[in-house]
């Protein structure tokens, strides 16, 4: 059985940040992921926003981590290859009542120490975001807010961690954890287990089950569903900045988001999911999204929709442990377990979890140190991930050089997003061996035809590069076979 210093359970954005942070030290770290690839849970389906730090009161852990995390993205972007842009956030108010909400948000943002926050007149907000409905009466501008492709952020963190000695095991759904001696033995549902002196529960939607498997704190995680529409990059509705409505008590509301890759995302809804696997979309919710988005940006059109999807936010509820240690309602729960040794709990990481995640990685590292993990920096640590070569980002001259170097760059497999065979081969070789994995890494199948032209070519490339038979090619892991038989 392999032995590690730290086992990180879950390869979402929290687990990836923890592993990335730990990779700077002389440690043996393993990431255990239940799904077939990393970032296949909450981290793949969310708004992809670096929040502005004004939505939550500073008394909450999430507000403090949001503020700290947001500041870390520029440095991470210099080291890693992921799409990120600080495009700013506008919050638009459409009546006097909403303007009062803007005042409250502005005051909260100021108290939180957000830099550059600006209360805006109607003229100013329309100048900042000309796509807004002319009914707008005013609003607020947060220049520090930004956008990121969340799965690509996770991929980059994981790639950096793996280059620095961290190991990854996918398809490892934790079934049992046993403490013996000074280490945990972690068993998957099938196959060989691992031993680790310390464990981090970053299991997202399944953090409750993982906590129970350790015999640690007893709580539930419920999925709060957010549904989205993805609009074609040709849409006229693409704003320059992230457009927020004035939030309600329950939710930040439905947004119009210009993605870094130049598409537009509208949503999310906020409804209780039927189960943790319930990623279904619903006609009524989708209609609501279009209506809400059009209220702010009237050029949003149903004709521009290329896809809809849903993600689940992990909401911690029913805390049954020591009331004195209970996290605040709707807040993050990040702490050393009080019930069992050498376990860090990272649970209830809903919005703004993505923004906070680099700070979560830092905090978890500190908690591990407090629990007795010795941290010695590695002299040979190099966290940089070289930018991946992509045809769509290359100038014609650069593209010519790419093809000269590897003719497979000249074979454009996904025409909508201009993804070449070379890029798909690279994705597969980096371990993204499912159709969704290739999609999130390369964007092939993510454009307006949604794989109608390229899916069969990608299936064949996956088979060729991995040697897998057709039966083993899946959309997103076991149970999602891409094909049904041979002629």
């Amino acid at each position: 059985m392999r032995e590690y210093d730290v086992a990180v359970i879950g390869a979402g954005v929290c687990g990836a940040n923890v592993a990335h942070r730990l990779s700077a030290y002389r440690l043996k770290t393993v990431i255990l992921e239940k799904e077939a690839d990393v970032s296949f849970g909450t981290s793949k389906a969310n708004s992809g926003i670096i929040h502005g730090g004004f939505h939550h009161p500073i008394a909450t852990l999430k507000a403090r981590l949001e503020l700290a995390g947001a500041l870390m993205f520029d440095r991470l972007r210099r080291e890693l290859d992921f799409p990120y842009r600080r495009c700013g956030i506008v919050v638009a108010a459409f009546n006097d009542e909403e303007m009062k909400g803007i005042e409250r948000l502005y005051a909260q943002g100021k108290e939180n120490g957000v830099m550059g926050l600006e209360a805006c007149s109607r003229e100013r907000i329309l100048e900042l975001e000309p796509k807004l409905h002319y009914d707008v009466v005013g609003g607020m501008y947060a220049p520090t807010g930004g956008i990121v492709e969340p799965y690509r952020f996770v991929f980059a963190l994981i790639e950096s961690a793996l280059r620095n000695g961290v190991e990854l095991r996918t398809g490892f759904g934790l079934a049992r954890a046993e403490r013996s001696g000074d280490a945990w033995t972690l068993y998957p549902e099938s196959g060989e287990g691992v031993r680790a002196r310390f464990a981090v529960n970053a299991a997202g939607l399944f953090a409750d089950e993982v906590s129970r498997a350790f015999g640690a704190e007893d709580f539930d995680i419920a999925g709060r569903k957010g549904e989205y529409y993805l609009l074609d990059r040709m849409t006229r509705a693409r704003p320059k900045r992230v457009v927020f409505p004035v939030p309600t008590r329950i939710s930040k509301g439905m947004l119009v988001i210009p993605t870094v890759e130049n598409t537009v995302l509208i949503g999310p809804t906020a409804t209780e999911a039927e189960s943790k696997r319930d990623l279904s979309t619903d006609q009524a919710s989708l209609d609501t999204i279009l209506d809400s988005a059009r209220r702010m940006v009237p050029s949003v059109s149903a004709n521009d929709v290329i896809s809809s999807f849903a993600g689940l936010r992990p909401v911690l509820e029913h805390w049954r442990g020591d009331p004195g240690r209970a996290p605040l309602k709707d807040d993050f729960y990040i702490d050393l377990s009080a019930e069992v040794p050498a376990l860090v709990q990272v649970a209830g990481i809903q919005s703004p979890g993505l923004t906070a995640s680099p700070a979560i990685g830092e905090m978890v590292k500190d908690l591990l140190k407090r629990a007795g993990l010795e941290l010695t920096e590695r002299a040979d640590h190099d966290g940089r991930v070289e930018p991946h070569r992509r045809m769509r980002e290359a100038s014609f001259e650069e593209a010519d050089a790419l093809i000269a170097d590897d003719p497979r760059f000249g074979n454009v497999v996904c025409r909508c997003e201009k993804v070449s065979e070379a890029e798909i081969v690279e994705a597969v070789r980096l371990g993204h061996t499912t159709l969704d994995g290739v999609k999130f890494f390369t964007r092939a199948q993510m454009g307006r035809c949604q794989g109608g032209f390229c899916a069969y070519r990608i299936i064949k490339i996956i088979m060729r590069e991995t040697g897998l038979p057709w039966e083993a090619v899946t959309k997103r892991g076991p149970g999602s076979a891409a094909l049904g038989g041979e002629l």
Binding site: I459, K460, M463, R464, G467, P469, W470, L487
Partner: protein, 122 residues
């Protein structure tokens, strides 16, 4: 006794009415051209269809994805025997290269009808 049917001879799709009298002779109405009558008569006596399919090339590699050779019956094939024909074609492996019109299966099921390649594959 009258039977309604859709003529499938060409894309127009005439709606045919076919009447069979006591002597067994057939009267067709609704046809736009003479081919409608031929189709209706065949449909009443022994319906036939052109079968198009694809056959695996013998040299196909499983990992690289297989090379399929499209084919067709050279003329319309007795409809009730199509499932048998399909079974034959699914089992068949053809050598490459092959040219359009080359027979893949001669005298299929003893009908006298050949199955021929419809694409040249190297």
């Amino acid at each position: 006794m009258a039977r309604e049917m859709m003529c499938i001879t060409c894309p127009i799709g005439c709606r045919l009415t076919v009447e069979v009298d006591a002597s067994g002779s057939i009267r067709v109405t609704g046809n736009g051209c003479a081919r409608g009558v031929v189709y209706a008569e065949a449909e009443m006596r022994s319906p036939k269809r052109v079968v198009t399919f694809s056959v695996r090339a013998a040299a196909s590699s499983r990992a690289a994805g297989s090379t399929m050779v499209p084919c067709k019956t050279k003329e319309a094939f007795p409809k009730e025997r199509i499932p048998e024909l399909i079974e034959e074609l699914r089992k068949l492996r053809t050598e490459l290269p092959i040219k359009t019109g080359d027979p893949l299966l001669r005298d299929a099921l003893g009908t006298g009808i050949d199955v021929v390649a419809t694409m040249s594959v190297d």
